[in-house]
Amino acid sequence: MIQTENLSLAYGATPVVNNVSLAIPEGAITCLLGPNGSGKSTLLKSFAGLLPARSGRVLLDGQPVNEWDRQRLALRLAMLPQKPIVPDGILVKDLVTLGRFPHRKWWQKNQAEDNRIAHDSMAMTGVAELADRPVEALSGGQQQRVWIAMALAQETSILLLDEPTTFLDWGYQLEVLELLAKLNREHGLTVVMSLHDLNQAAQFADHIAIMAKGELKAKGNPSDVITESLIQRVFRVETKVTAAADGRPFCSGYAAALKAPETAIT
């Protein structure tokens, strides 16, 4: 499972994440929340072994993640970037089949099994009927489901998603989140994603970590973490937190709290 120990990360000389110790529970949905530039995406990338730690470390199944062989890592963990590049003219089925890459040696062709798994992944995310369409021609929500199908075809038990809802309208956002919840429920997929919407996180996450200015401000289940005072401190927003029908926290009555500058948190 993923665990960070006093992890600090930097881009060149710029520190981005500072001294974060966090354990991601297996088989659960974890949401990373925080304002823009708080280090959520950077933290996610470090989980995938894409950034060397400046100090501290990221452990995956007890072994430092950058010591994992890339191919072996790709069988354990898949990642969906915030703005993935769509190869020119590629068809849905061909893109999804790219998820099978780590399962074969680089000189091997795809086998019948790969095509079957790619097809199952498309069926799971509801894009099977789009298989022969070019990805570029699809709507944002459909494209996001295709990317998730590709990650599923990778057959990993952990899926990292960097702001999977940011470029989608409200309906598609819920559709993607419901899909991830279903995959978590039915296949035990461990989901770790960064989100912007607190209520969506509260509704879908089992576990929430809140970042601000590169530091971990809170972690725990939604009702423990999403509180009026924390939201005001981290997001500078005044809000009323009530319990929704399912008992999860629900934020309403937003107003920018200009009087509480972020320097107050430190």
Binding site: Y11, G12, K45, A48, G49, L50, R70, Q71, R72, L73, A74, L75, L77, A78, M79, L80, P81, K83, P84, I85, P87, D88, G89, I90, L91, D94, L98, G99, F101, P102, W106, W107, Q108, K109, A131, D132, R133, P134, Q154
Partner: protein, 347 residues
């Protein structure tokens, strides 16, 4: 409708390939038959059955056949190199000329030519006995590799390849290397200036069997390399970090692809000079015809690259015969309108 869109590209690929192969065959045959001395088809046929005059035999075997075959390989080299570079840098403008590879190869080849000449022909400019000529491809490859490595590393932006930065760096380095080549030629070119200038325009003039044998190993290595790259290249079209999370050691494969692209382009420069446009045009045309399938693009690149070069050379040496228009000039004149037509049809 789904079945139709799935079928369309592959039928276009097949007809493109068939037309390309037929066209290539005709271009090669015409290349052997026409020239300063026009031969009848019977005379050409007689050469291959073994009963022709010595004169005709010499025209076909010593001059036209090697020249045509060298042209064919050159076309394959530049087309595949451009195709790889465009994929690798995720930049539709990339090609060996724009990225400075051809310019690096040219500079070192010109220097080797002049130095070799100065050392070996002791003042007689018409004595081309310099052994440097036989190894021109190797010198060119050295120059091309140095330029490619420089452009690659200068094109990195905090550890990631930036297509924009790589293209700009390439253009600037290419400009500088061109200036150095021209300068070298102006100062030390002497009696060879005309010959070298013709070579720099991209010419198959005087292509012989020894040129073919210095090219062919690199064609084979290049094709084998591209074959190995086919599957990784599919994945490498994605975002850098995405590629890595799919388990591909990106830097290693990128370096290998760049190496293959450079070897192909630079070895061709060593023989025919920096023939422009083929490396830019043919990959685009192949992509337009083939759609997203990389193997289909690759096959079309090979056939169409050879066709354009051989065809352009035939046109170039017959149009104003006995004067020759270099193959680089003709291929640009023939290829660009077709390219513009494809572009305009797209949008």
């Amino acid at each position: 409708m789904a079945a139709e869109t799935a079928l369309q590209p592959s039928s276009r690929v097949v007809s493109g390939l068939i037309l390309g192969v037929v066209g290539l065959f005709l271009a090669v045959a015409t290349g052997i038959q026409t020239g300063a001395v026009d031969l009848s088809w019977q005379q050409v046929w007689a050469v291959f059955t073994g009963d022709s005059t010595e004169h005709v035999h010499r025209v076909v075997f010593d001059i036209r056949l090697p020249r045509t075959l060298v042209g064919l390989l050159i076309g394959v080299h530049f087309a595949l190199s451009g195709w790889l570079l465009q994929l690798l840098s995720r930049n539709p403008l990339a090609e060996p000329g724009i990225l400075g590879i051809s310019a690096g190869a040219s500079l070192v080849a010109v220097i080797a030519f002049i130095v070799g000449d100065w050392v070996f022909s002791s003042g007689n400019p018409y004595n081309n006995a310099s052994p440097a000529l036989d190894y021109l491809s190797l010198f060119a490859m050295t120059g091309g590799l140095v330029a490619a490595v420089a452009v690659y590393f200068l094109g990195l932006s905090s550890g990631r390849l930036s297509p924009l930065k790589m293209t700009l760096t390439g253009a600037v380095i290419a400009g500088m290397l061109h200036a150095l080549t021209t300068g070298t030629l102006a100062f030390w070119g002497h009696a060879h200036t005309e010959l070298v200038a013709q070579w720099l325009a991209g010419s198959l003039y005087g292509a012989k069997w020894n040129h073919l044998s210095s090219l062919l190993p690199w064609t084979i290595i290049g094709l084998a390399g591209v074959g190995l790259l086919l599957r990784p290249l599919k994945v490498m079209q994605l975002d850098d970090e995405h590629v890595q999370t799919l388990g591909l050691p990106l830097n290693r494969w990128r370096a290998f692809a760049l190496l293959i692209a450079t070897l192909m382009a630079a070895s061709a420069v060593g023989v025919a000079g920096p023939v422009g446009f083929i490396g830019l045009l043919i990959p685009h045309i192949s992509r337009k015809l083939a759609g997203p399938g990389l193997s289909a693009q690759l096959l079309l690149c090979v056939v169409l690259g050879a066709l354009l070069t051989v065809g352009a050379d035939v046109v170039g040496r017959t149009l104003f015969s006995p004067y020759e228009v270099p193959v680089g000039v003709v291929s640009a004149i023939l290829g660009v309108p077709f390219f513009l037509y494809l572009l305009s049809r797209q949008s």
